[in-house]
């Protein structure tokens, strides 16, 4: 009986998961490559605009459902200064470009094949939607573009931030 209890306690401790990196509050300073091959600092690319960053991967079916919403968001609020960016996590340029060849994505796509930015952000789930202020402060994270996220984006745009 005692051995069963001790085994059960080990299982509970194991199932409760290990230590996790706390999520970053500002966008880390890393240089990434765009899908078209250009190297660019993400912070420089974001300067002056409220930005929505979509962390995604080609194998993630839930990410596929977010893409049309982000396209519509970009079309609706791009003229008001909103930037939408895709950040592919963990895949090579050849895989991403093959996907982009079959699926039209109008917003810029950056690559994070070694998970450097994703780990620095403390994000381990896909998809993840980040809302970033022009100064690089991350003000919102969610697993999808939902009503709450959209309301926050609109409030940030109307405040001229």
């Amino acid at each position: 009986m005692r051995s069963l209890v001790s085994i059960a306690m080990c299982l509970v401790a194991c199932a409760s998961g290990g230590a996790s990196v706390p999520p970053a509050k500002t966008l880390p300073s890393v240089e990434l490559t765009r899908s078209d091959g250009r190297a660019e600092s993400l912070q420089v690319a974001l300067a002056g605009a409220v930005t929505v960053i979509d962390l995604w991967a080609t194998w993630c079916t839930a990410c596929e459902q977010e893409r049309p919403k982000l396209e519509r968001l970009s079309a609706a609020y791009g003229a008001q200064g909103l930037r939408v960016i895709g950040l592919n996590v963990g895949e090579s340029a050849s895989v991403v470009n093959a996907y982009l060849g079959e699926n039209r994505v109008s917003y810029p796509v950056y690559l994070d094949p070694e998970f450097r930015l994703a780990d620095a952000l403390g994000e381990k789930r896909l998809p993840t939607i980040l809302v970033v202020e022009p100064n690089g402060r991350i003000v919102h994270r969610s697993p999808s573009l939902n009503a709450e996220t959209l309301a926050l984006i609109k409030s940030k745009l109307s405040l001229g931030q």
């Binding site: 085994i7 080990c10 299982l11 401790a13 194991c14 998961g17 290990g18 962390l55 991967a57 194998w59 993630c60 996590v89 963990g90 895949e91 998970f115 994703a118 994000e123 381990k124 789930r125 896909l126």
Partner: protein, 83 residues
């Protein structure tokens, strides 16, 4: 062996075996973050199995063999065979 003794013996051994495997595999509580599961989503991995193909194979085997079960599906009945 009576059925209830069989139940106690087999079930007890299964649970302990399962715990041993889990503990040895999870000795470091190996965690695969959700964003690193691209290979687990591969069409060749179990999560992507074709349900109809597995169903047809299971029905063939349970209709022509005495054993059935342990695959999450009911074992016994459901056909005019000896299953």
């Amino acid at each position: 062996m009576e059925p209830h003794e069989l139940l106690g013996g087999v079930l007890r051994k299964f649970v302990f075996g399962l715990l041993l495997v889990w503990l040895s595999a999870s000795s470091a509580c190996a965690m695969v973050p959700q964003n690193r599961r691209q290979y687990l989503a591969d069409p060749t991995m179990p999560a992507q199995d074709d349900g109809l193909e597995r169903r047809a194979a299971r029905k063939f085997h349970t209709s022509r063999e005495g054993a059935a079960g342990a695959d999450g599906k009911p074992a016994g009945g459901g056909c005019s065979c000896g299953n």
